[in-house]
Chain length 228, copies 2
Amino acid sequence: MENIEKTIAEIVMQVIEGINAEGGKSSCDGCKSPCGSSCEVPVGVSNRHIHLSRGDVETLFGAGYELTPMKELSQPGQYACKETLTIIGPSLRPIENVRVLGPVRGASQVEISKTDSYTLKVKPPVRESGKIAGSSPITIVGPKGVVTLSEGCIIANRHIHMSLEDGARFGVKDNDYVTVDVEGTRRTRWYDVQVRVHKDFRLEMHVDTDDANAVGIGNGCKVKVVKD
Amino acid sequence: MENIEKTIAEIVMQVIEGINAEGGKSSCDGCKSPCGSSCEVPVGVSNRHIHLSRGDVETLFGAGYELTPMKELSQPGQYACKETLTIIGPSLRPIENVRVLGPVRGASQVEISKTDSYTLKVKPPVRESGKIAGSSPITIVGPKGVVTLSEGCIIANRHIHMSLEDGARFGVKDNDYVTVDVEGTRRTRWYDVQVRVHKDFRLEMHVDTDDANAVGIGNGCKVKVVKD
């Protein structure tokens, strides 16, 4: 290690220069479908997150605890909470700072990526949110207690939220499946994308970080529903 | 934290049960294209890795150092080395245990995923291996020294290695681009897949961990070259 010491200062300088040269994480990095182009559906990238039942909120945070809304999400009534939790599986390698989303639901659900599943050593199915029967067990650790779900860990399917008007415009109804083309930095077609149509929904396609990173897109990029 | 202590033993038991229930990481998890099916091109998933020049081997490991071949890779003459290194970028969040691949090359190159790029805070282009002009700077830390590449960090493009015979069979020549369909757990089409034809190549499609995890495939899964 004799050369390490004398290069520390050099590394720090290079790293600082790198920060200036590289900038931070941005949306639409290199993407050929920037906001404002003619593409049709804006994308929202879902990082790993947790939905909690009222009972599990109290186990994890204490009796009578109420989640603290921090930021509204694109779909009306949904919000990111101030609270984060740690999840752990058979690997014993925890993933920290997993965001809780509100409001509370009937059953708790942990949505992770395939990449996360290798860290945790769980094998969640690809599912529509809310369809947790037979999905993976997972343990959630909070400041006041621990919850082990016997099922509830899933990888979310690709889906598009649409209003009734957008459903009519695209010629689809709730629970139809469509095909989507993505430019990004590695051009890709996503098959079997579930459409969710509801009067309160706003047009947005939700993908997880694996899908977003594979194609090199971020929040605000747009994708195209195509005739397959 | 009053409930944490009494649940530690419970968690450990649940985790141990989980290990038995979940098993380890496996290839073709849930994939509809298992080995032996009628699909046409086997997949090899490339995790992040480093190619080194002779000069950089000596800076990182010491004068006269020779890399230690550990495992042959699918393409003849290519091998994984015993040696691993740490890479670091502007985020100051290092990624450890990055495998060195041999043999040495004319110029060092670090291949990472988009997911890694967010950890490191670098913005590598999607590139063919070896095309590093103008790619991202990255710092490599070894046991005897440090190398900062002014360029050399890339995200590898999707590509298929083929022998001359396979090239003829698929009707493609070196540097053609093809379209590939993947079943996996989230059905996907990959456009713009570069074909590399060489007499010494063995048929295999190389994708990185982001692409593999997005579609839920692993080593040994098969994908189909399609007419676009």
